[in-house]
Symmetry: C2
Subunit: 259 residues, 2 copies
């Protein structure tokens, strides 16, 4: 399938590479900044553009891979109707953004449930891909591309997709933030972050096989109020600790001790 | 080495099995509840006791594997001085608990930095073991046992050990809680938790190679206030969501948007 990537960030980079590896063609990479477009275009053997009026009209699929807030503006700048399907890749932007932005062609959503960092290669095959489309023909075409990349393609509506995104913020973005809190605490005490890396991995691996609530451990679920109090006092004493981190400790411990 | 396990919970079970697999002998398993002592003793081919006066005086190492709050009481019940070393396995209980509980023999701490659930087998070799002891001879003996189980044995004082424990609460216990929040959100929207399992694993794997702060992703670090507001509204609308979960979302997002 002939595709065009609108965007050149982390998701565009990883998805672009996966598309090329699966035998698809990336005709163009668009970015407002020509150097960003060029950098990714070079990797994908495609053309760099920094003006949407230069969009190749012969593509089968145009993937919008920009930050959520920029999506309506990008749709506005597209020709009112393209022959190919236009799909955004956002968790929390509803399908209706195409209609409200005045787009009249076929469109859809192609949402990979994964976190992408520039520094780490990603295998697409286990990544769930959530699809939604303006019509059944577009859905079928999106499904074909999705299936060539991943073993877990499924359909969901915009409300469900937002729920997945919120769940992902808690389970991924916020967990990673808690890792960084742990790192700060260790470094301030002359210890290495490496000490708790096996623990982080074990916790995530446990969640692969069990319901997380059923394998909850720690002072709070044991209702060990003495240790909780001692930890809160220790966080309080450390003047370098943001008081909101103590608040997070107190809040989550309160919820867990009630279970 | 001849050991006695005082306690029969998750840590006792996993540590006991690891000791036996590494060629040590578990002479006795103590639990207040005879049936619990018996269950683990059967697995380790050792004697079950439910009265500390029946403690075998010939052991080299007595490991206290009870909840933190029960440690002083257990030490009180021990003979004032045993020939072997007595060690507790708690992150947040200082070494001085032995002195304040009136113990006069040799003692130490043997703290495995890992989470243990009954349901999942644990490989001890990558688990960091934090040691502390009343004297250098006891330290040497604890080190010998520790080294037979793990590749990562290190010395730290009670304050550092507490810092490791607090870091572990954030990175492991609280992350697991966030996984369960994600599960609740997905189930309430007719979706499976399985959808975000790859995301959870990828996030933990990323933390194995990078500093978590350097690979932070999500709406908050992108300062996408519109999405944050939309997610908070969605959490608010769902009457089944504990309002404290919205508070956690707001608090962590606030911290991350300031970065």
């Amino acid at each position: 399938m002939k595709t065009v990537l609108i965007g050149s960030g982390n998701v565009a980079t990883h998805l672009g590479k996966a598309l090329v590896e699966s035998g698809h063609e990336v005709l163009q990479v668009y970015s407002r900044k020509p150097e960003n477009a060029q950098e990714l275009a070079n990797q994908l053997h495609s053309e760099a553009i920094s003006d949407l009026s230069a969009l190749d009209a012969s593509a089968d699929l145009y993937l919008i891979l920009v930050s959520d807030s920029a999506i309506p503006e990008i749709i506005h700048q597209l020709p009112k109707s393209l022959k190919g399907i236009v799909a955004h890749t956002s968790g929390s932007t509803p399908l209706s953004v195409f209609e409200t932005s005045g787009y009249q062609g076929q469109y859809g959503v192609f949402y990979p449930v994964q976190t992408f960092s520039k520094t780490k290669k990603v295998d697409f095959s286990p990544i769930p891909l959530a699809l939604e489309a303006s019509d059944s023909q577009s859905y079928k075409q999106l499904f074909e591309v999705a299936e060539s990349l991943s073993n877990r393609v499924f359909s969901c509506d915009s409300k469900q997709r937002e729920a997945i995104h919120i769940a992902a913020v808690f389970a991924c973005n916020f967990s990673n933030y808690l890792y960084s809190v742990a790192e700060d605490i260790l470094l301030r005490n002359g210890l290495e972050f490496d000490l708790i890396r096996p623990l982080i991995l074990e916790t995530a691996e446990k969640a692969q096989h069990f319901s997380p609530a059923s394998v909850q451990t720690g002072p709070a679920i044991r209702k060990d109020l003495k240790i909780i109090k001692q930890h809160l006092a220790s966080l309080e004493q450390d003047s370098n600790t943001d008081p909101r981190i103590k608040q997070i400790y107190a809040l989550i411990s309160e919820i867990l001790t009630e279970k």
